[in-house]
Symmetry: C2
Subunit: 246 residues, 2 copies
């Protein structure tokens, strides 16, 4: 068996999420179907982690093993063109047998896009969350810096999560306004993110920008370890898994 690592992009709009489920179209199922057809035998893949329904990926990473050595560009092309049009394959490389797309993750980078234009762009309705209310961007910048470092992010994790250790390290948390000044793009880089963590961080930052949570509240919210103190969970269509580092 030969082990491969592939970088995948997908438009999450018409998926029930990355991970296989009984009902619903998933990215994992579509890729496994294609690899199994190419290989004439059932092939299973590992992803770097799941993404929710509507969430996009610019650089999701998967691994899988195939019975024969393949030409890498031919394999990439097959994965790219034989999967549905909302999945693309950016690269395929050979990796050692013990590579694992989920267990060996060192860092993940996410983007979150917020359409702040009036009106909402019809071209972004599936590709950015919409926030039409006044925003003080300086307050958001101030609050973003308070996420940096190692913290217990219980307050920024879905109450549904069953994971025990909620300590994560954030290396980068920033925001840019696009040239047309009608879209905010947040970037978060960390050693891992909890369930809904970025969406809750962004939901909280927008409330801070709108003046309904104080700009210096993040340290207090983190310290409280209480999901109820943070803001709402921002919509999935703004979220992009941008890069996974090993």
């Amino acid at each position: 068996m030969v082990r491969y690592k592939a970088i995948i992009a997908y438009d999450g709009t018409n998926f029930s999420g990355y991970q296989h489920q009984i009902n619903g179209r998933t990215v994992q199922d579509e890729i496994e179907k294609t690899l199994s057809r190419i290989s004439n035998q059932p092939i299973a893949i590992n992803g770097s982690g799941r993404t929710d329904a509507g969430v996009h990926a610019l650089g999701q990473v998967i691994d899988f093993s195939l019975p024969y050595k393949r030409n890498l560009e031919k394999l990439r092309f097959a994965l790219d063109t034989q999967t549905p049009a909302d999945i693309a394959c950016k690269s395929v490389v050979e990796v050692p047998d013990d590579f694992h797309a989920r267990y060996l993750v060192k860092e993940k980078v996410y983007e979150f896009h917020v359409d702040i234009g009036k009106p909402r762009s019809p071209f972004r309705r599936f590709y950015a969350s919409y926030y039409p209310y006044p925003l003080d961007l300086a307050k958001i910048e101030h609050a973003l810096a308070d996420f940096l470092g190692t913290h217990d992010f219980t307050s920024f994790c879905s109450a549904k999560s069953e994971i025990e250790n909620k300590v994560r390290t954030i290396y980068q948390a920033d925001m840019v306004l696009n040239e047309a000044k009608d879209e905010l793009i947040f970037t978060f880089r960390g050693n891992g993110f909890l369930y809904n963590m970025i969406r809750i961080m962004v939901g909280t930052l927008l409330k801070i920008g709108n003046g309904r949570i104080p700009a210096d509240a993040i340290p207090t919210i983190i310290a409280a370890k209480d999901r109820n103190l943070a803001g709402p969970t921002a919509h999935p269509e703004g979220l992009y898994l941008k890069e996974v580092r090993y």
Copy 2:
């Protein structure tokens, strides 16, 4: 009656085009339905011109008359939010009774987007045409300049067109490569464009860039007044009606 001019944006993906037709969902029908509901009587609109199925608009212009004077921002908001999510209303202004969105057009501006990345971006599959073959951008730049000025564009008009006067003036024809170097954005500004004209111009420019039509062929193709000498019609999903000037 009070006459209004509105600037409309739409994602053309799920429309059979701008203009009313017996079968198929159209932009005109959706806007007329909304205005008629708001006004409790049938309201008809004029557009600056039709756009084909899959073609987008950033700045389509329409006009219509309503029986009462309306607050402009309330009317814009109603048109924006009561039409489906793939139509947005950017502005509404009052205009003189003799304003007409089609007859009084002075200039139109179109963009054409070409995804030249490998792989094709899943996020652009409805928003850019795809061209994966080698391109010499200098050849395209050279050929673009030959479109400028006043010419009979018979060679760049669908053979199906029944219009007699095919003389049009092009004021601007340029191309930029985006920052990621995986998308070409063409801009064309002229006093009018024939049916499929921009799509045939782009189809021809891509063949020139790929070396299959000489870079200096445009004047010869124009002079021949023969559709068969130009390149293929580029796909509709790359085309955007950007602005209409009066």
